[in-house]
């Protein structure tokens, strides 16, 4: 028996969708919503001082902590979006602390958590210095932000 997906709506002569045609559409929308909720973040899009900051990818799905944000880009180091120093200089410099970051971070040590957004290709020598500087400035919690593998 042939299934009628389109039939004239009663009383008007205008063609409309039957219940049989709506069911696959509802299924499709449900799947789309589940996919969006699974892969998309409710957080607003992250704005980075250097537009091309590609974060490392991780299988972890823990939500990122909130706190003072330090960006380690290809060109510079930033505290909450404000440039504090040169990434190139501090990657090569001797010493374990980044003095350009120490002052701004020490002023905000009461916030407790520092969130590091480092470029995926940034050398760990530089990121380690930033982590140690944050710790020495008085931050107790340190978190590195990565892009979840669940992202599209």
């Amino acid at each position: 028996m042939r299934r009628r997906l389109f039939q004239p709506s009663s009383g008007s002569g205008v063609a409309g969708l039957s219940t049989g045609a709506m069911a696959p559409m509802v299924d499709l929308f449900t799947l789309l919503i589940v996919a969006v909720l699974r892969t998309w973040s409710a957080e607003p899009p992250a704005e980075t001082p250097e537009g091309d900051l590609s974060l490392p990818r991780s299988v972890s799905e823990d939500a990122p902590a909130r706190g003072v944000t330090v960006d380690v880009g290809k060109d510079g180091l930033y505290v909450d979006g404000w440039r504090a120093g040169s990434a190139v200089y501090w990657a090569e410099a001797d010493g374990a602390l980044v003095s350009d970051l120490y002052g701004p971070l020490q002023q905000r040590a009461g916030e407790g958590t520092v969130v590091i957004r480092a470029h995926a290709d940034a050398p760990w020598g530089l990121v380690g210095k930033v982590l140690l500087t944050a710790q020495q400035a008085g931050f107790e919690e340190v978190s590195v932000v990565a892009e979840s593998h669940a992202s599209l």
């Binding site: 998309w40 607003p44 374990a96 760990w124 982590l131 340190v142 892009e147």
Partner: protein
């Protein structure tokens, strides 16, 4: 549905972010004590050939003095091999959760993050979720 879906797409972000909390081992730092277990210290270093796991295991020899430890050097060529070595050590000391990673100065951040993911869990469950990353110049506490 037709309204909800575009609203979701407009108000959310396709870039799902995650946070990896970690401890940093600074020179002279004292981390909280661990519960006593067979493994006293567990350190993973990166070298040219892959990874090297250093585990200080308490000696179980009846003739050994109290506090004697035996250092085991266990190589791993890739992350799968590293997970297998860590799974063996986890079976030896199931209560241990802390591990120290020592990346090289020029190791890319992406590789360190993959490394952190690998030591935290494998397909069989949790490994060592409390990750301590040694600072560029600091010794292992």
């Amino acid at each position: 549905m037709v309204i909800l879906l575009p609203m979701l797409l407009m108000t959310t972000s396709a870039r799902k972010l995650t946070g990896l909390s970690l401890s940093v081992a600074a020179p002279g730092d004292a981390l909280p004590p661990l519960p006593p277990g067979p493994i006293e210290q567990l350190v993973v270093r990166v070298d040219g050939a892959g990874y090297r796991v250093q585990a200080d295991v308490r000696s179980t020899d009846v003739r050994a003095a109290t506090g004697d430890v035996e250092r085991r050097d266990l190589p791993a060529t890739d992350l799968a091999g590293l997970r297998a070595v860590l799974r063996t050590l986890k079976q030896l000391d199931p209560k241990r959760s802390r591990i120290t990673l020592v990346p090289a100065r020029d190791t890319p951040t992406q590789r360190v993050v993959s490394w952190m993911d690998a030591v935290k869990a494998d397909s069989r469950g949790e490994l060592f979720p409390e990750v301590v990353v040694e600072s560029a110049s600091g010794p292992t506490p």
